[in-house]
Symmetry: C2
Subunit: 231 residues, 2 copies
DNA sequence: CGGGATCCGTAAAGATACTG
DNA sequence: CAGTATCTTTACGGATCCCG
């Protein structure tokens, strides 16, 4: 690889050797979002083959951008080094550039319910929710059966759980909409409140949960770079 | 290509489809430095094959980052669109990240006299030079004959000329050094004045030209992002 | 000389399957 | 959970050639 490199002393070229290989930028974005376990990363980058993911992680480790922690008995975790964390403003500005310049309609041709739900699961903020188990069911009527129903299960003190098969719990809030609307709202292309007001997103169930939805539902960690403050 | 894409709605993934293909970042860096003609770009990115350069330019045109001007009789020029020019801070911050984190010694293994001289030619500032033809000869004693001698010919009102064969003009200033020192100075890794003071760069000839060297010799357009102001 | 197109061999990536 | 193994497809690099 170092042989087939750009062979330029220009720093951009040297950075490109690290950042340009296919999937690398997306992978770094996923790691900046906090994924550390192999299969956790896989779910965030579902179309990347495990072989390639493994290879990229090793390359980034050699480049000093990623470090593997836990070589002992337990399963390894992958963390960004300081060198890797300092890529955050770059990745964010790339995202902001794309948000500004890439046609939204084109972007919205690449919807993926599982990916969206997995990202929502990660960014959901349980703090404003009731201090009991809370179940939110998403319904995308236009999707095929396997992707139509999703459940987010929030239990105090635990990680949020995502299911695509009915967990047979009482549901506190139903969210009925189409995938495009939900994705746009979550990406910050449109306002969740506005879509609810327009009837494009239908909330049924607990009115308290319903009213506080903008507090707990989160948004793309990149969206904060585009639309406004949300640390 | 749009078929083999990342298929992620994440804006970083969409930008990566444009920015990640091999050579694209380096090419954009070269265009941000001002190259507009096909072979002019080639000289800045000498290891990129013309076929691939042509392909990349077309892809970037489709992406709306580059526009081709002059489809008429004369030769086409390639310019960045506004969308492309807004990549400048991103490319610059990538360069700054590399400058900070990538080992200088590793970087300095990829020296290329022709590329360095071509970049120096471009960034040389004739304004502080005398209002007559001025010839500067570079001598890299350690290099093989073909790369040992370089001439920059500055004529008022004309583009700077670069020769690797003796143009048989009177030489106003000789610069004798090794390629590594010259590259590091030009990249901003070290100070030109310091290398001259240390004797690592030897200046022979016109003392006026010699004293004003930091005014006209320029530096990497990326170096300004690292070391200090030089618009 | 500028601006490519073509052909071909190699290297990387994708799709699936399988394992400790 | 955390990866390999294998096979096919695509992309890339290098050389050559073409045309105005």
């Amino acid at each position: 690889m170092s042989n087939s490199s750009y062979s330029q002393f220009c720093p951009v070229a040297m950075a490109a050797e690290i950042l340009s290989p296919r999937w690398t930028l997306v992978l770094l974005g996923e790691m900046l979002s906090g994924s550390t376990r192999f299969n956790e990363i896989r779910r965030g980058v579902p179309r990347m083959s495990p072989a390639l993911l493994s290879k990229r992680l090793k390359e980034l480790e050699v480049a000093g951008v990623v470090e593997r922690i836990g070589s002992n008995a337990d399963f390894p975790e992958y963390h960004l080094t300081e060198r890797g964390r300092e890529l955050r403003p770059i990745i964010m500005s790339i995202g902001a550039w794309a948000q500004k310049w890439i046609d939204t309609d084109v972007a919205m041709e690449k919807l993926d319910a599982q990916l969206l739900m997995w990202n929502m699961r990660r960014n959901l903020n349980p703090d404003p929710m009731p201090r009991r188990r809370t179940v939110v069911q998403f319904i995308y009527p236009e999707l095929p059966p396997r992707e139509k129903h999703w459940w987010l299960i929030v239990e105090p003190g635990q990680d949020v759980d995502l299911c695509s098969i009915d967990p047979a719990h009482d549901v506190d809030l139903y969210i009925t909409t189409n995938l495009k609307t939900m994705t746009k709202a979550w990406m910050g292309h449109t306002s969740l409140s506005k879509e609810v007001a327009d009837g494009a997103i239908l909330l049924t169930g607990d009115p308290v949960l319903s009213r506080s939805i903008t507090q707990w539902i989160g948004s793309s960690s990149l969206a904060c770079a585009y639309v406004g403050p949300r640390a």
